[in-house]
Amino acid sequence: MVLLTLMAIITIGVVRVRSLFAVVILGGIYSFLMASVMIVLDAVDVAMTEASVGAGISTVLMLGALYLTKTEEAAPTHTPFVPLFVAAGTAAALIYATVDLPSFGLADNPIHTHVAPRYLDYSVEETGVPNVVTSVLASYRGFDTLGEATVIFTAGIGVLLLLKGRRRIKPGPKRRRIRR
């Protein structure tokens, strides 16, 4: 609860502050708080990912992008009422949906009675890997993880094309390498 309150405060800060540098740093703090929430929920893998990607690498990439642009947020050119309405509508729909959810952490929730018991019972003898998260990710759901790796590959290639493609205009020794 404390963590969620802090996250709400940081969100308000991100909205209010005009300096983009402060916004990037606040985003990093938000990610660290999110990682703490994940640790509280016993999802250490997700917490690790959130801390390293969300707070670490994306903060560095944002700072790198900030170095190339202006560091002050431009004044908004439109009134905030339509986005506010959309956000409030989405929030209302989500809150309405949470009313129907089964209560958190019960052993007989649908998610714990479908395939999870089978994974917990048989994964060690079937895969020899004590960490069920790893065996589910890499073996039982191997196709999903292959898809994820492909998504990262595609995203990386796309970003590289976008960022490095402009160089072709500039003359220089780099030109030959790009063409290859």
Binding site: D45, V60, T127, I152, L160
Partner: protein, 138 residues
Amino acid sequence: MRLDVIFRVAVKIMVPFILMFALYVQFHGDFGPGGGFQAGVIAAAMVILYAIIFGLETAKRLVPPRLVEMMIPLGVLIYAGVGVACMLMGGNYLDYSVLAHDPAHGQEYGILLVETGVLITVAGTMTAIFYALAGRGR
């Protein structure tokens, strides 16, 4: 970035430990939390930290951009290649049980190889994006 001796010395000491931690997360992922994705991000963070403190050119000499760009497709290739190898050895695609005499051992090898593929792709992608972004302004 000329006079920050403390940063330089501290980073020089930290870099091998960060790399070691990445490998720990990778290969201990069978027992504790972690896996290819987290390890790849930690390894990329090591390169980025090095580049921030010692300059982009030094980091590019340590980890050349061509290597990084080759790592991106290589990881996916390893992953998909494990699947094809499973098929060649008589199983289904990505069914690692056929990789060794004992199905459980085969699964273990398969998971290890697949996680290595993920590690290579993730580390390569993160580092390549950082290189591309950081090299733009100069």
